[in-house]
């Protein structure tokens, strides 16, 4: 299904972001979510907390779905800002320094794939250090200093 994506702050996502628990499942549950108009969900036979893959010109990511509190807004999907939303938003600033966080055309598919935790997502999408996915969890991975 073709949709228009808006991103922005949501109170729950901000709660966990500010709390500083971004690696944990609670943050994933709050930020890796596409909030949809109920009518749109019905079109794809989606229930709350089902998973979708959302694809835009800039990338694709797997998210949970949930019913939007701010409906009605058929054809529009809201994703709280965060590492998941970032993947599909447009970097284009049109020489105005602000990337395009709102109004990004995208397509939605129902999926069974997993919604990744932050550490896994960052490793998979950006793969800066080529780490082993299995070792990445909801806890910081680092080496203690030998004393």
């Amino acid at each position: 299904m073709k949709v228009m994506v808006n991103t922005g702050t949501s109170v729950i996502q901000a709660f966990y972001e500010k709390k500083g628990s971004t690696l944990k499942d609670e943050y994933r549950q709050s930020a890796a979510v596409a909030f949809m108009d109920l009518k749109d969900m019905q079109k794809l036979s989606l229930k709350s907390r089902d998973k979708i893959k959302i694809k835009s010109e800039w990338g694709e990511v797997v998210l949970y779905v949930d019913i939007s509190y701010d409906a009605p807004h058929e054809g529009m999907v809201f994703i709280p800002r965060g590492p998941w939303a970032n993947i599909i938003i447009s970097p284009e600033t049109y020489c105005c320094n602000v990337p395009t966080y709102k109004g990004i055309p995208a397509e939605i598919f129902k999926t069974d794939e997993d919604v990744l935790l932050v550490s896994q997502l960052m490793n998979k999408v950006y793969n800066k250090y080529n780490l082993d996915d299995d070792k990445l969890t909801d806890k910081p991975v680092y080496k203690k200093r030998m004393i």
């Binding site: 944990k24 800039w58 529009m76 970032n86 600033t93 049109y94 320094n97 602000v98 991975v141 680092y142």
Partner: protein, 446 residues
């Protein structure tokens, strides 16, 4: 998430400033037990979560990536020396963030940027930068929030949802409280929300005006037409019936004191700075009939402070490029996202900001190829991309410092509890870096 009142505490610290959003509520009480914060009074949910904080992901020691790509604990000397050298040797460094640190730290950062020919930029670049451009083009009619509390009989929110993003904005400043000239608080005011979505703010407003996304410019233009007594041929503008707009402009025109707040819904949609531009001119025009002022809903507790400090020191509000030693500011050219999109920077340091949370994926991809430094309190998405991590302290909780509220009122934030032993304030870290860079420069000069 309803929590029981905290009773088990042994100390109260009153009148603390919150370190979450641009509201900077300064009436917060911290409840301490054994010198640790166990509870918070008066703060909103998000503010409380930031103050009480989860310590599981707290950065406690400096970290440097080892050859296997794993972050490894190290000494401050090693981490600082490495950072200083990387920064000193880079050709196009970017220092980004600053929204959640003190003005004192920001001023140190400006010194470093000047010394190293870096680009100094903050979250304005992804939030209200476009609003600032509009202010620069057509004007800046603003007020402090107390003006709204005491005088406003009409409050308009456009493209912003403070009930979620700035939770106490309505209750503490604009809508619900008693004001000097508005003794009955909420009853004395008309609140109108313009938003494509039926937000929580729309839900507590007297009127919600739903308009089409990406047609902000047209909507405000039509409002200005109506204000000037021109008629509109169309029955509907930007998805809003013309009669509803006529009604709105009557309310605005007849206000005794009107306040307009706008958010990223205006400054990030199609037309960006020109949407705000139009909104400013609407407010300017309204002052012919009544008294109106406006304010952007600034996000972090000190984004505004960064803009002020940077203008004091360099003349420009954000995106300042020191590559030639003196400041240059060119929207779209010397601003972070554009530089990263163009793959120009060869050094990137984020200070109290998480680009992993904030930047588009395409933009982040350049951070894979260059040295990345993090100065922050918590492990976050950006830590997964950071080569060096310098653990810092929380302003307003563990460190004192100045911040500016969204309406530019300065507040001095207290230090209430001790920092983790091996963490240091942003100001300390940046001072150390500055000194090390000075030494490198002297070595080169000799």
């Amino acid at each position: 998430m309803i929590e029981k009142p905290i009773t088990d505490y042994d100390e109260e610290v009153r009148n603390c400033s919150c370190s979450y959003c641009g509201n900077n509520c300064d009436d917060i009480t911290y409840l301490l037990k054994d010198k640790k914060i166990v509870g918070v009074r008066h703060a909103c949910r998000i503010g409380a979560s930031k103050i009480i904080n989860d310590q599981d992901q707290r950065l406690l020691n400096p970290l440097v990536r080892n050859d296997e790509g794993i972050l490894e604990e190290t000494t401050w000397d090693v981490a600082l020396d490495k950072t200083a050298r990387l920064l000193y040797e880079s050709d196009r460094p970017v220092l980004y963030g600053w929204g959640e640190t003190s003005v004192e730290a920001i001023k140190k950062g400006i010194k470093i940027a000047e010394k190293t020919g870096a680009v100094m930029d903050n979250q304005s670049t992804i939030c209200h930068g476009s609003s600032i451009q509009a202010f620069q083009n057509v004007g800046h009619p603003v007020m402090t929030l107390g003006e709204v509390k005491n005088r406003a009989d009409v409050v308009v929110y456009v493209g912003t949802n403070p009930m979620d993003d700035h939770p106490r904005h309505l209750s503490r400043y604009t809508t619900f409280p008693e004001g000097f000239f508005r003794k009955n608080g909420r009853k004395d005011r008309t609140v109108i929300t313009l938003d494509p979505k039926y937000t929580n703010t729309a839900k507590v407003s007297d009127e919600w005006i739903q308009f089409n996304m990406n047609e902000d410019y047209l909507l405000f233009d039509a409002l200005r037409m109506l204000l000037k007594g021109e008629s509109l041929d169309e029955e509907e503008i930007a998805g809003v019936p013309t009669s509803q707009l006529e009604n709105l402009i009557q309310i605005m025109k007849n206000a005794e004191y009107g306040a307009l707040f706008f958010g990223l819904g205006v400054s990030q949609t199609l037309g960006k700075q020109k949407n705000v531009d139009m909104l400013i001119q609407l407010v300017e025009d309204l002052n012919r009939y009544s008294k109106w002022s406006m304010l952007p809903m600034r996000g972090f507790f000190n984004v505004s402070g960064f803009n002020i400090a940077l203008t004091s020191e360099t003349g420009y509000p954000y995106g300042v490029d020191f590559s030639r030693g003196y400041p240059r500011f060119m929207v779209g050219e010397t601003t972070t996202i554009d530089l990263l999109n163009r793959r120009e920077p060869d050094f990137f340091m984020a200070i109290s900001a998480d680009p992993g949370v904030q930047f588009p994926g395409y933009t982040i991809k350049h951070l894979i190829n260059i040295p990345t430094i993090q100065i922050d309190t918590h492990w976050g998405p950006y830590t997964e991309l950071a080569d060096i991590v310098l653990p810092s302290t929380r302003v307003g909780v563990e460190t004192e410092g100045t911040a500016y509220r969204m309406d530019s009122i300065p507040l001095f934030m207290k230090k209430v509890i001790d920092k983790p032993e091996n963490c240091h304030s942003d100001e300390w870290i940046l001072t150390q870096l500055y000194e090390r860079i000075e030494i490198l420069k002297q070595e080169e000069d000799n």
